[in-house]
């Protein structure tokens, strides 16, 4: 049995989501929700039920939910959509964002926007101090991740929401990693726009949503039909929507218990690893973080090699973000936290979730230190025995 510790990349599909999707497909699955006929109406019911479930997960009114193809599209829609007609020249973001925020913001910078990237402390947290003065009447958009996917730090989004609100700027929060991991409502967060993603919470990949606060206007990325109240043309991915809704429902009803369980397993894994890997370092805040995420620097090894070695032993983890060819780059998040390039290269991410069991954690806690010792020994011995430079 393989041990899957990569929930932040994509959680395994929850049985509840799988069953709901099966019911939808087996029940016909046909019918465009925009159609007038019975089948269309059936599909529309599935769509709107799921919308209500997803909305409830984040305490939002159903009408404010726009279904997208995933977190990346949600972030693109939020960022490009919010500044489409902006007369203000500035966008505020941070140095530790997901690539689907970095790339749109960089593109807008190329088109003439001024971009301010707030820096984080060595735990990866943003501080209000000195950061609020850039959020002013010149700021069109503030776009920040709530929980960081690589090391789990949670940001004080309410503080930034207040600053954005008093400056009259749009506040977008990427909650792809926070939704389903911490209790939240869009009201409390104070955001205008919130991205969420189905496969981070155990729904299928390829479906996400953007919360758009009523009254906040957004230019669409896709033009076409009037679907999703004009914010996203095209027939939505219905099967995905159904799975998303079912996953959201299960997360909402069991959130407290599940998160308590995951937090306990994650703390146990960290404790066991710290006891058997001398010099192991947890990156990110000890407390203000999503509890499922452990970003760890393993001394004396390349994270890339450790990741492959663990995969061959049946433990699936990840590191930074993969390049197109499938190699891994050192994490820009860790570099932004002041880690050296070599520390970043020695760091990997373990992320637990709904499917993680105590047995998984106990086996991982046995296997990981053993594999780490082998990798570290191979790297050390090889340095020792390397032939003299030639020429």
């Amino acid at each position: 049995m393989r041990i899957y510790l990569d929930h932040n990349a994509g959680a395994p599909l929850r049985p509840a989501a799988r069953d709901a999707m099966m019911r939808f497909i087996v029940g016909g699955g046909e019918g465009n929700p925009a159609s007038v006929h019975f089948s269309g109406q059936r599909s529309r019911r599935f769509l709107e039920e799921a919308r209500a479930d997803v909305a409830t997960l984040i305490g939002a009114p159903p009408r404010s939910i726009v279904f997208t193809s995933g977190g990346t599209e949600s972030n693109n829609l939020a960022i490009f959509g919010a500044v489409h007609n902006a007369t203000r020249p500035r966008i505020v973001t941070s140095t530790i964002e997901h690539s689907s925020i970095i790339a749109p913001v960089t593109e807008l910078e190329r088109r003439g926007f001024e971009v301010v990237r707030l820096v984080v402390d060595e735990d990866g947290r943003l501080h209000a101090q000195g950061n609020f003065n850039v959020i002013d009447q010149n700021t069109a958009l503030v776009s920040l991740g709530w929980a960081n996917s690589e090391m789990g730090a949670l940001q004080d989004v309410r503080l930034f929401a207040q600053a954005a609100q008093s400056a009259g700027a749009v506040f977008h929060v990427d909650a792809a990693q926070a939704a389903g991991r911490i209790p939240m409502t869009v009201e409390e967060s104070g955001c205008d726009l919130m991205s969420i993603s189905a496969h981070k919470i155990g729904g299928p990949a390829g479906i996400g949503a953007l919360y758009v606060r009523p009254g906040c206007t957004l230019a669409p990325l896709l033009l076409g039909g009037p679907q999703e109240t004009g914010s996203r043309a095209g027939t939505p991915n219905l099967c995905g929507v159904v799975g998303f809704g079912a996953a959201a429902r299960e997360v909402r009803t069991g959130l407290a218990a599940e998160q308590e369980h995951v937090a306990r397993l994650s703390a146990l894994l960290l404790r066991r690893l710290e006891a058997s890997v001398p010099g192991l370092r947890l990156n990110g805040p000890r407390d203000t973080r999503i509890r499922n995420t452990l970003n760890l620097t393993f001394p004396g090894v390349l994270g890339e090699t450790l990741l492959i070695a663990l995969d061959l032993e049946g433990i699936e983890i990840s590191m930074g973000s993969a390049c197109a060819a499938g190699a891994v780059e050192p994490s820009h998040v860790l570099l932004a936290m002041g880690r050296s390039s070599s520390e970043a290269r020695s760091s990997v991410r373990l992320s637990l979730g709904w499917s993680t069991t105590l047995e998984d954690v106990e086996r991982a806690a046995d296997i990981i230190p053993r594999v780490w010792r082998r990798v570290a020994a191979a790297e050390f011995l090889s340095e020792q025995s390397r032939a003299e430079p030639w020429p």
């Binding site: 090699t305 060819a325 499938g326 190699a327 082998r374 790297e379 032939a387 030639w390 020429p391």
Partner: protein
């Protein structure tokens, strides 16, 4: 448990078939593509077949998927830059013509990659090289030419010592290229008829001089004169790294008879040219000499066959071992142009008994 072997996969047909053969033989195969060269400038990759491009990785990945073994990409760019590209550039700047494949095999494939292999619990590293490793009754390892002499790549592997050979597998050593392609087709590999990569993998357009210029400090570029054998200046050039001994084209000199580069002097910047017959040498002096089994090469004058460029045939010669890892090689009959920086590999029959890097030609 089956022995685990890390197979270096380029996406080409050779390494793909090597992996397939090992899998058939029951090894626990782990495929690895090495990320070595810096990223290509956009648009260049399409122009010619190379290795370590994104498409090549995808080809390798498809083979691994088809044959159902795990496949990973490992990043060795820093090591490759430090040990292979750095050496390549400095050799050219010093008036020599390096062979980066020799250096890559020594430093990357059979050293740094082995380090990764050991970390992954592998017992062996395998590549798609055409060469053989034989273990004798006493337990010593010998590097032999491939059965397919036309494809033989033992020339690039002469630096492998006992330590490296013990943990290395060359599954294609007994096969011909035709057989390998047939096997690839039989396995349904999409790359069965893929063109061979020939040129140096990290120089995208084959323009070595431009690559060296881009990777050198301006102060390192050695401009100078082009002279004939009598020392008379025939013209000027803007860097000795534009030349290689034996080169005919691109000299920028008008002459009745074709002229060839005879010598390159990194001290003065002089490039001497001459007629073809002036290139002929009696032998060469090699440095950084490695001997596979020094104890078996006794005596003053050791008969060998010397191969001084990958595409040249091995020539009968007399080897004399000198102190400080040097050696003198004298051709039995007139030898061809000797290019400093290239490898001179010593053969006895099919066996590689040693080799070194050419430092100078021995004149007539």
């Amino acid at each position: 448990m089956n022995a685990r072997v890390l197979v270096a996969m380029s996406g080409g047909v050779d390494s793909s078939v090597a992996a397939a053969l090992l899998r058939e033989q029951g090894y626990d195969v782990v495929g690895v593509a090495m990320r070595l060269a810096p990223e290509w400038p956009p648009g260049i990759r399409q122009r010619r077949s190379t290795c370590c491009s994104h498409d090549d990785f995808e080809d390798a990945r498809r083979v691994a998927e088809r044959l159902n073994f795990p496949f990973y990409v490992v990043d060795l760019r820093a090591e490759f830059r430090a040990n292979v590209i750095g050496n390549f550039v400095s050799e050219y700047l010093n008036g020599r013509t390096p062979n980066p494949c020799v250096m890559c095999n020594r430093e990357i494939k059979f050293d740094r990659l082995w380090q990764r292999a050991a970390a992954l619990g592998a017992d062996f590293v395998a590549t798609g090289h055409y060469a053989r490793i034989k273990r004798d009754e006493g337990g010593a390892f010998h590097l032999l030419r491939a059965c397919d002499h036309a494809k033989d790549q033992s020339y690039f592997l002469f630096t492998l010592g006992q330590r490296e050979m013990r943990r290395t597998l060359f599954p294609l050593g007994n096969l011909s290229k035709t057989q390998v392609r047939t096997l690839a087709r039989g396995l349904g590999l999409a790359n069965a008829d893929k063109a061979e990569s020939q040129e140096i993998c990290f120089v995208a357009d084959g323009n070595y001089a431009a690559f060296v210029s881009q990777n050198a400090q301006p102060a390192q570029i050695r401009a100078g004169s082009i002279r004939d054998s009598s020392g008379e200046e025939l013209g000027r050039h803007n860097g000795i790294h534009h030349f290689t001994v034996g080169q005919r084209r691109g000299l920028g000199i008008a002459s009745r008879a074709p002229l060839y580069v005879r010598t390159i002097d990194a001290e003065t910047g002089d490039v001497t040219v001459g007629r073809r017959d002036e290139l002929v040498s009696d032998g060469l002096l090699a440095g950084m000499v490695r001997l596979a089994h020094p104890e078996t090469l006794s005596g003053e004058d050791i008969p060998i066959e010397a191969k001084i460029r990958y595409r040249h045939p091995a020539l009968p010669a007399i080897l004399r071992i000198l102190p400080e890892a040097r050696a003198q090689v004298r051709f039995l009959s007139g030898g061809p142009a000797v290019t400093p920086g290239q490898a001179c590999v010593f053969y006895r029959g099919d066996e590689v008994v040693g080799g070194g890097i050419i430092e100078a030609r021995l004149g007539r």
